[in-house]
Assembly symmetry: C2
Homo-oligomer: 211 residues x 2
C-alpha cells in the first residue's frame, strides 16, 4: 500500500507520522513550510481544502483528521496491534481519548496562536492567549488524574493514543503549563521520546524557522 503523509514541523501531524513508523508502514513524507504558507497553495488545497496538516493520501482516498488517520493506520496494519481493533469497547476507548485531544486539548492550545479563527478583535485575540495556560492546564490535569492509565495511555497496551498524547505534550512549555503538576504525563513524554519510531519521526522533520 502506497501512503503519503503531509506534515509540518511542530504540528499535530507528528502523531500520524509516529504511528506510521510504529506500524512499519511504507510511506512517503512531504513537508510543508508554513512560514511560506505552502498549505495555502492551489496544489495543496486541491488535496486538502482545510489547508491544514496532517493529510494522508491512501490508494482509496484522502484522510485529513488525526483521530481518523490513527484509526486507519491501526486497522490497516493489524499486526502492529495499535488500537485493540477486535474489541469494540477497547477500540472505542482509544477513540474517546483521541477525540478529547482533538476537540478539547488541541483546541485550547490553538487559542494561543490561532485565535483569529474565532475572533477578529485584537483585544479578543490577546485575551485568548492569556487564558491558554489555564485552559490547557485544566485539560492536562484531567489527563493526569483520570485518563492516563500508565505506563501507556490505555494501560499495558501501547496504542495510537500514545503518539497523539506525546505530540500534544510537545506544546506544554510553550503553552505555559507547569510540568511539575503532571508527573505522569511528563514521564510518558520522556519514555515516548526514547522509542525508535519517535526518534525517527522527529529526525525526519526540518527544523521550523521559528521555534
Amino acid at each position: 500500500m502506497t501512503l503519503t503523509l503531509y506534515t509540518a514541523p511542530g504540528t499535530c501531524a507528528l502523531a500520524s507520522h509516529i504511528a506510521l513508523e510504529e506500524a512499519g508502514a511504507e510511506y512517503e513524507l512531504k513537508q510543508l513550510d508554513f512560514s511560506k504558507t505552502e498549505q495555502l497553495s492551489a496544489e495543496y488545497l486541491s488535496i486538502n481544502p482545510k489547508a491544514r496538516v496532517p493529510t494522508l493520501i491512501t490508494p482509496r482516498g484522502i484522510l485529513t483528521e488525526t483521530p481518523a488517520i490513527l484509526a486507519f493506520i491501526a486497522q490497516a496494519f493489524p499486526s502492529a496491534d495499535l488500537a485493540a481493533q477486535n474489541d469494540p469497547f477497547a477500540f472505542a476507548e482509544v477513540q474517546d481519548f483521541n477525540s478529547y485531544l482533538c476537540s478539547t486539548v488541541h483546541v485550547a492550545h490553538a487559542h494561543r496562536r490561532r485565535g483569529h479563527r474565532w475572533a477578529d478583535d485584537p483585544v479578543a485575540i490577546e485575551a485568548m492567549k492569556k487564558k491558554v495556560p489555564e485552559s490547557v492546564g485544566a485539560c492536562f490535569d484531567l489527563i493526569e488524574s483520570e485518563m492516563l492509565q500508565g505506563p501507556w495511555v490505555m494501560g499495558d497496551s501501547y496504542t495510537v493514543a500514545d503518539p497523539y498524547l506525546f505530540t500534544v505534550a510537545q506544546w506544554l512549555e510553550g503553552d505555559g503549563v507547569d510540568l511539575d503538576r503532571i508527573p505522569h504525563v511528563f514521564d510518558h513524554r520522556n519514555r515516548m521520546s526514547k522509542r525508535p519510531a519517535v526518534q525517527k519521526a522527529l529526525n525526519a522533520l526540518r527544523k521550523p524557522a521559528v521555534a
Copy 2:
C-alpha cells in the same frame, strides 16, 4: 448489553441518541437539566469529570466523546451496518467526517455561548459571538461543497456520520448561517428529520427551558 445514555436537550448528545435508535439498541435515557447545572453535581462528575454530555455507560466502562460513542455503537451492533466496520478505509472516512464535526464545527459553534472556556474578558467573549456566523458558515460551506456526498454523508450508505451532521445542523439558525447557501445540508436535515429513529429521539427529550 445494558447501556445508559446521559443527554440534555439541544446538545450534541442527540447524535448518540439517534445512533442508539438506529442500531436497535436497548438503553436507558437520563436527561440532565443544564439550567439547574445538573452536569456539575458530584454524582455526575463521578461518572463524567468533563461535566458535559454525552456520556454512555456500558458494561465495560464509560465513553464521553461523540465520535467514540458513535464508533462504539456502530461496532457493537454490526447488523445495523452504521460505519462500514469491515473496511478500514471506509470506516476511517466516517471517523474523518465525525472528527471534523467535533474538532472544528462544534468548536466554532461553541464560541457563541461557551466563549468563557477560552477567554475571561467580556469584550473577547462578545467578539467570539460576533464571528460565529462566519466561522460556522465556512465549515458548512466546506461540508456542502466537499464532504456531503449525498444522499447520505458517505453516499449511498447511511452511517453514524448522518445523525451527527443532523445534530450539528440543528444549530444553524441560532448560529446565524443562511441555509440558502447550503441546500444539500438543508435537504439532508429535512430527510433525517423524517426518520423514525430521529423522531423517537427528539420526542423523548424534554423541551429546554430556554429555546
